[in-house]
Structure formats: C-alpha cells, structure tokens
Amino acid sequence: MSLPNLTPELRRQRIAARVVHEMNQGYYVNLGIGIPTLVANFIPPDMEVVLQSENGMLGTGPYPELGQQDADLINAGKETITEIPGSSFFSAAESFAMIRGGHMDLSILGAMQVDEEGSLANWMIPGKLVRGMGGAMDLVAAAKRVIVAMEHSTKTGAPKILKKCTLPLTGYQVVDTIVTELGVIHVRDVGLVLAELADGVTFDDIQGVTEATLLASPGLREMKG
C-alpha cells in the first residue's frame, strides 16, 4: 500500500479541483453540501457556469464581505451568499420543476455509500442518524448527469464504494461518475470503470480500499487536477 497520506482538507481540495473538469461552458449546475460546495472555488474565471441553489436561486455568488450579509440571501446549506449579475430568485415549486424537468446539466453531491449499480445513499443511517433527503432525491432522479464527489473511505477507513449499498438509498441506478481523492470511476453497464488514478496511486492500491470490483479502463491515466 502506498496510499498518499493527505490531510482531510487536502483530500477535499483535490476532489473539488478534479470535479471542475466535468463542467463545460454554459452549464447549469447544482452543488450539494460539503465537498461539492468547494467546487465553486475552482471554476476558471473564463468559464460561464450558472450555479443553482435549490432553495430558489440561479446564479449564486461568493460569500459576502463581513457586514454585507443578508439574512434573506442564503444557499441550500443555509450559508450566507451573494447575488451576481444575472441572478434570479424563484419559489421551491419552480426550483424543483427546473430540477425534475431535466434542465440541470449536472448535479454534484456527496454520499455515504455508492455501489456498482450507481445507486447512492446519503440521507440516513437507521438507528443512528436522520438527516433527511432534502432535495437530493429529486436532483439524482432528473439531472442530465450525476457526479458523486466524496472521500474514498469513511473516517474509520471503511470502504464507501460497495457492491451494494447497505443504507437507505437516495437514488437507484442514478450515478454517472464518482470522484474521490484517489481516482475517477465511471458507472457503466459492465460495472465500475476506473478512468483516472491520482498521482502515486496504483490500481491495486485503490482496489484495496474499494469493496466493489473495479475494471481498469484501457485508457487509464493520471488524475487531472
């Protein structure tokens, strides 16, 4: 095993920096809570991407300067944010009509578990934790593309990419791509295809911390950063 010994912060940064390569000019994107929120920091200034916040806003801007915060202007993570030129506000029904109607190009969200079939779980651990699904079930059911951005293993080192999710699902067979600090994995009909490996990580390294079986892509290459 030669897994890189990164701090949690570095792992999160690396994941966010890689996910941004999945965006294209003109995309409408919903970013979930946690690592996906960090992705906004890596969008190149010359790429126009409109970020949606499912509480009812298109075109979310950066955090406000201290003193400029507005209690009426928050994202779905309940954080204070700002408007940018071209922003719009709308109701919860409109927000989810937009999501359910398949208008979002990309939904990026975190997960507790993902499996070989592209199902994911991120809203409850029976008997231990009830977070609620919020908007995640709608997002994964209808976005054109669903990317899970998460750390490869749990805090205790247990695998999160499984043969079959054991927690209550957020979506059944909905994930297209998984990005972790160790690599990029696409969910295909044949199974989980490893497309990119982080610098210094071998196939055996990543398979060793993954319960599901990984298939090496013929074009397997180093992870973009």
């Binding site: 916040s53 499912e54 509480n55 009812g56 806003m57 950066p62 955090y63 406000p64 300067e65 201290l66 400029q68 915060q69 507005d70 209690a71 009426d72 202007l73 928050i74 994202n75 779905a76 993570g77 309940k78 954080e79 204070t80 944010i81 408007e83 506000f89 709308f90 109701s91 919860a92 029904a93 927000s95 989810f96 009509a97 999501i99 359910r100 199902s119 008997g127 231990k128 934790l129 009830v130 977070r131 609620g132 699904m133 919020g134 908007g135 995640a136 079930m137 709608d138 059911a141 209808a142 209550p168 699902l169 957020t170 979506g171 059944y172 067979q173």
Partner: protein, 233 residues
C-alpha cells in the same frame, strides 16, 4: 377588500388542537417569526406541521416542536435540528420525510386542485413503499398525493391590505407555494402598504390566496450559518 388583522395573536386565535399547519421558509430564512411566537404562546396541541425544515434548537419552527405541540410532521430535512433527530430515533415523533421537490409539488398541487401526480423522484428507494409505480415512455414514476392544510402561515417582504404579496430574495422558497394550499392563509409581512402601492406586474402571490395579513412589529431574521469571504464567522 381589507384583510388586515392587528396582531399575530389575533391572526392565529382560531388554530385549535389537531390542526394541520403549513409553515413557509427554508431553514431560518423567510419564516413567519411572529406567527410562530404567537402560536407557541397560544399553545394548541397535537398539530400536524408541514414545512421543509424544523428550524434549529431554540429558534424558528423548532420552538413549536420544543413546546410539545407537534404530533406529526411532514418535511424533507431534519439536518440542523438535533432535538428533532433525537425524537425521531426514539420514536417520539411521527415524521413523514419527503423529497423536497415532491413536497413542493404536493403543496403546489394541493392549492391547484390536482389530487395526485407522478414523479421520477424516489423510484427504487424507501420513498416508493406503498405507492403506485407507473411507467410512462419506458421510465418509472411514483404517484404522490397532494397536500393541503387547515392553515398556511407564510412570510413575505411587502403586502397590501388586499393580500397581494411580494417576496425578497431566497426568503421566497416555500411561501408562495403554500399560500394557495391553506384553508386559511395568514401572511406576515415586513411592510404592509395601501392597495395600489404594489405594481400589479410585481405581485408574486395574488391576494385571492391570502385571508389575513399583518405587518410584523419585529423580526430577528437570524442567520443560521454566517459565511463571509475568508471563512466562517
């Protein structure tokens, strides 16, 4: 038509034990703070609350929960309310967790006279249990029923005495969706103006949906997570 009512206390005086109540807002943003406070002071029990979130401990809709007034709750997110999470895990509160978009559409449909609808959300998950699954054009959908309530308590930025409402920024959220779904809809506004002062082109909720309206004397407008450039404060 004048729907103005003097105080929050008067506005909620006929909410009795067992009532179903929708409460607008998202987290602590855009919630009818004065109506919540008046409801807690009035103290009806065995309520069925419908709201996206349950606020936080000690503020927002969480206050109604902590006062022991809720028998059943329908919402999409528990997240920030640890008391609610503990009560759910201990089996002390009947909770219907619903995907947020399904909740919004159930409420919209309730106010729009649509008894049920099909949605792709939740297919193959726990949400599917006990529901009709139907295929349209090769894709599976769940049938979801509409939601209505005895009362809808909502918050707007400006309103006139006829009940026409305008919302501000993300304080809109569930408020305009709930306005048509309450048997009696009560709007709390930051600024109550004369009829004619709101440009008809700018009205976001037409007054037909609003039964009672009052200007809030004070709102704390608490920020749940203050984030500023350079990190959380």
């Amino acid at each position: 038509m004048n729907k103005e009512i003097a105080t929050a206390e008067e506005a909620i005086a006929d909410i009795r034990d067992g009532a179903s109540i929708m409460i607008g807002g998202f987290g602590l943003c855009g919630i009818p703070e004065n109506l919540i406070a008046a409801l807690v002071a009035s103290g009806p029990r065995k309520l069925h609350t419908i709201s996206n979130n349950m606020g936080v401990e000690g503020f927002g809709i969480g206050l109604i929960l902590e006062a022991g007034m809720i028998a059943e709750h329908t919402g999409s997110y528990v997240g920030e309310n640890k008391i609610m999470e503990r009560m759910i895990l201990a089996g002390e509160l009947k909770v219907n967790l619903v995907p947020q978009g399904t909740l919004a559409e159930q409420i919209r449909a309730g106010g729009a006279g649509i008894p049920a609808f099909y949605t792709p959300t939740g297919v193959g998950t726990m949400v599917q249990e006990g529901k009709e699954v139907r295929e349209f054009d090769g894709k599976k959908y769940l049938m979801e029923r509409a939601l209505k309530a005895d009362f809808a308590l909502i918050k707007a930025w400006r309103g006139d005495r006829a009940g026409n409402l305008v919302y501000r920024k993300t304080a809109q959220s569930f408020n305009p969706v709930m306005a048509p779904a309450g048997q009696i809809t009560i709007a709390e506004v930051d600024e109550l103006v004369e009829i004619g002062e709101i440009n008809p082109d700018q009205v976001m909720t037409p007054g037909i949906y609003v039964d009672r309206i009052f200007e809030s004397p004070f709102s704390e407008r608490r920020i749940e997570r203050l984030m500023v450039r350079g990190g959380e404060k």
